[in-house]
């Protein structure tokens, strides 16, 4: 059982809790693969997705996960809600509480927004990505995919290449993977690697080959043009030439290596198209695993009250 009311990030989630989520997700995926998607555990509960940023896969994935567990779902996107009239995050949360909503899945451009909300509402809060800080369920589905492929995390070499600075996925992956005993390497243009990642346990590679050398997982991250002021690197084509991953570079990786990407992908920028569609690419599998993992998270969070 999870220790907290909410899932805000992997920074304060223990290895045991992560493993519990992953093993619960195994059962969820078994049901999903048989196209059984109507568990009764959240019947009579409501989950609201409160998205202050655009998203397809995360929002739909959470919504389907909640539906498959029997919950009712409501979608709020900031652009078409009272947020436009100046309502604060806490007030929005309290309004949802008053409507007897049970779970809030929030995505917000500011790091820490889910935590602020969680402190002020009765509902379970699940972080669906906050700014450049954390995206715990994406990292959990990455872990699920790795566990399914390799069985264990001990000594697993994970290379993360791309826009580390603006990526919450990179940070959640780093926090979780170091707890699980994996080795995390990172590579990006100097301008896109924030200070202190090495102090948090990442190995910062100087060259692409060094990051990919012997890696079991090669994870590309999207260049987040919407968050950049510009000037981080000269051009997309130059980025792909000097910082992207292609088939040539994959020869440095372990023979059993898999390619991952949290999506959406800029084809031909961080990964070449042929890598995205290759047999060892897990990018589509990640999407299915995402639903299983999110079902597991919603299930385990509500289990706290289910057993009282």
């Amino acid at each position: 059982m999870l220790k907290h009311k909410d899932l805000l990030g992997l920074y304060d989630t223990s290895a045991e809790e992560i493993c519990e989520i992953l093993s619960t997700a195994v059962n969820m995926k078994k049901l999903l693969l048989q196209n059984i998607k109507k568990l009764p555990h959240l019947q009579g509960k409501t989950a609201t997705t409160l998205f202050y940023e655009n998203s397809t896969r995360t929002r739909v994935s959470f919504e389907l996960a909640a539906k498959y567990l029997g919950a009712g779902t409501v979608n709020i996107s900031a652009s078409s809600s009272s947020v436009q009239k100046g309502e604060t995050l806490i007030d929005t949360g309290k309004t949802l509480d008053a409507m007897k909503n049970d779970i809030i899945i929030i995505r917000h451009p500011m790091g820490g927004a889910p935590r602020l909300l969680a402190k002020n509402v009765r509902a379970h809060v699940v972080n669906g990505g906050d700014g450049m800080y954390e995206h715990p369920t994406q990292a959990l589905l990455d872990f699920y995919t790795m566990q399914e492929t390799f069985g264990s995390f001990n000594g697993l070499k994970v290379a993360i290449l791309g826009d580390i600075k603006h990526s919450r996925v990179a940070k959640s992956n780093l926090f979780g993977l170091t707890k699980l005993g994996a080795e995390v390497r990172m590579y990006a243009p100097q301008t896109l690697i924030p200070k202190g990642m090495d102090a948090m346990g990442a190995k910062i590679a100087k060259r692409r080959e060094e990051a990919i050398d012997g890696a079991d997982v090669v994870m590309g991250l999207r260049i987040q043009l919407e968050r950049q002021q510009g000037g981080q690197f000269p051009s997309l084509s130059e980025y792909s030439e000097f910082f992207g991953v292609n088939r040539e570079l994959m020869r440095y990786a372990s023979p059993r290596a898999i390619v991952m990407h949290p999506g959406p992908v800029n084809r031909g920028v961080e990964l070449t198209s042929s890598l995205i569609d290759a047999d060892n690419s897990k990018i589509e599998e990640q999407v299915l695993n995402g639903i299983a993992v999110r079902m597991a998270v919603l299930f385990l969070l509500t289990q706290r009250e289910g057993q009282v």
């Binding site: 619960t24 059962n27 049901l31 048989q34 059984i36 568990l39 009764p40 019947q43 289910g306």
Partner: protein, 174 residues
């Protein structure tokens, strides 16, 4: 530990139950057998084999009731479940629901739920190898192999050969 049914006794019982089904339904027209996985599936298979030995074909299949258990939410667990694809239609059929042991009756209710998900049968009859008593729901079997009233502290072990047993039914103290 006491053996209440040995291999030969089990075989005779299955044949007798198959005759009872034929008698009550005035033949085997429209009859099909659905066994609750996994013990009941073995019972259904054996009854179907007993029919086949007399040259009568009666379709049978196993059904998984995990998704229909009544304690999923109260005990908050994820069931081991399989999607039920039985290979024939139950629409308008006379379904004989087979299980090895009838105790609280909860599995039977879950199984009836599962059957109705597959279609609308003309009727559902219940066949149980052993009725050990202890009902918690108003459930009664139409065909009973043997009535064995037991206390809750006793454990009934039905060991089908196909499930790793030796085709005997044994009572154990817990």
């Amino acid at each position: 530990m006491s053996v209440i049914l040995d291999k030969a006794g089990l075989a005779r019982m299955i044949v007798r139950l198959s005759h009872e089904i034929e008698e009550r339904n005035e033949g085997t027209e429209g009859v099909c057998l659905l066994g609750i996985k996994r013990g009941g599936e073995a019972v259904a298979r054996r009854v179907a084999e007993a029919f086949a030995a007399r040259g009568v074909f009666v379709p049978y299949a196993g059904i998984s009731i995990g998704m229909h258990r009544d304690d999923l939410v109260t005990s908050y667990f994820i069931p081991e479940a399989e999607k039920n694809e039985i290979g024939f239609s139950v629409e308008g059929k006379r379904v004989v629901l087979c299980d090895d042991v009838l105790h609280t009756g909860r599995s039977v209710c879950a199984a009836i739920d599962a059957i109705f998900e597959l279609g609308r049968p003309a009727c559902v009859q219940l066949l149980e190898l052993i009725d050990r008593g202890g009902r918690e729901l108003p459930v009664r079997a139409d065909y009973v192999g043997k009535n064995v009233p037991m206390s809750r502290s006793e454990f009934l072990d039905v060991g089908f050969a196909e499930l790793g047993g030796d085709d005997t039914v044994v009572i154990r103290k817990r």
